[in-house]
């Protein structure tokens, strides 16, 4: 089992998901919650395969937010991985729970709706994401390059914990390849 994990990590070295996996571990993130997204699949698989993480497949992003908030208060730092459309379901839970209760909620958002989107609904919902984050005063960064990923993710997680505030890392198609039509 351990051997498998090591091999998997070696195979993931140099990929965005392998790098992010390492950054999460290095920052003692132990809870990985998600609602699936195609682009996030290798990151999700990596979390499931690594016993370091308690990995929870949630049914709604709000639910996952609640789980991460509870786990943080119980002493376990967690991340919520989702798609742009999933983020769009979160404003009320952010505004009434994560932000006012000062929870360092780590959000990983796979960005759909831009740079070659083929679904009009995804394109529209994407336009709501940054205005919502800005309106709530939630720190966010869009990551486009592998060589900047470790710096941005590592510093953002540390800042979220130190300042007890949510943070959103938006994973651009420039980083992940995104989802293409067909």
């Amino acid at each position: 089992m351990r051997h498998d994990v090591t091999e998997r990590q070696a195979a993931q070295a140099g990929t965005w998901h392998g790098t992010l996996h390492g950054v999460l571990k290095a920052n003692a993130v132990r809870l990985f919650t998600y609602v699936p997204d195609r682009v996030l699949t290798p990151l999700i698989q990596g979390a499931h395969a690594d016993p370091h993480f308690t990995t929870v497949a949630a049914t709604r992003e709000e639910e996952a937010l609640g789980i991460v908030a509870g786990a943080w208060m119980g002493g376990m730092l967690g991340v919520l991985a989702m798609q742009t459309s999933g983020f769009a379901t979160l404003p009320n839970a952010l505004a009434s729970l994560a932000v006012p209760y000062q929870i360092p909620l780590l959000m990983l958002i796979s960005e759909r709706g831009t740079l070659g989107e083929f679904n009009l609904g995804q394109a529209m919902v994407c336009r709501t994401m940054r205005p919502v984050l800005d309106a709530l005063g939630v720190e966010h960064h869009t990551i486009t390059r592998l060589d900047e990923l470790t710096f941005i993710a590592d510093r953002s997680i540390k800042q979220a914990v130190a300042t007890q505030a949510p943070v959103a890392l938006i994973l651009s198609p420039l980083l992940t390849g995104g989802k293409v039509f067909g």
Partner: protein, 202 residues
Amino acid sequence: MDTQTSLHHANRKVMNRHDLTRRLVARLHREEAVIGGIGNTNFDLWMTGQRPQNFYMLGSMGLACPIALGVALAQPGRGVVALEGDGSLLMQLNCLATIGAIAPANLLVIVMDNACYQITGAQPTATAARADLVAIAQGAGIANSHWAADEAGFEQLVERCLAQPGPHLIAARIDSQPATGTTERDPALIRQRFMRGIAVTT
């Protein structure tokens, strides 16, 4: 104790939220964490005395169970209780399926079912018609889900659920009285007290 799910609401004993919450709190001897859901549920929890292990959710309707699940995952050695209203649970029924799938042994969900959204004007919820939250929870994979037949039955269920591996769910039919008071409203302070209460330092 009443484990039948076939009884309709109209035929269940009507209890009271504040009274049942007091009975619950009196049975917490191991610093169990309690997550109170929006509105009346956490107000009546507050009015039973402000245990440091209580968390009061001032918004985020429907998230008492997910928050409790998170605490339960982080602290598997501590009993965790989610207190939720029927309207709130109906808003996030999906969380029962997640709890059923993960099956945390240290989690107890208690639903105060007044068959209405009392705090917003007592509009009827679906439990006033045909929805049965115990049947739903059982269907979601929480096999240990029961209706409390009366106050003594509620106490017995609580004691049994705290002593035996869960997850568990207890539902109680309650009257449509509002809560007996309200909480303080400082979210950061509530969180800090709760974290200290369950021995987490940041």
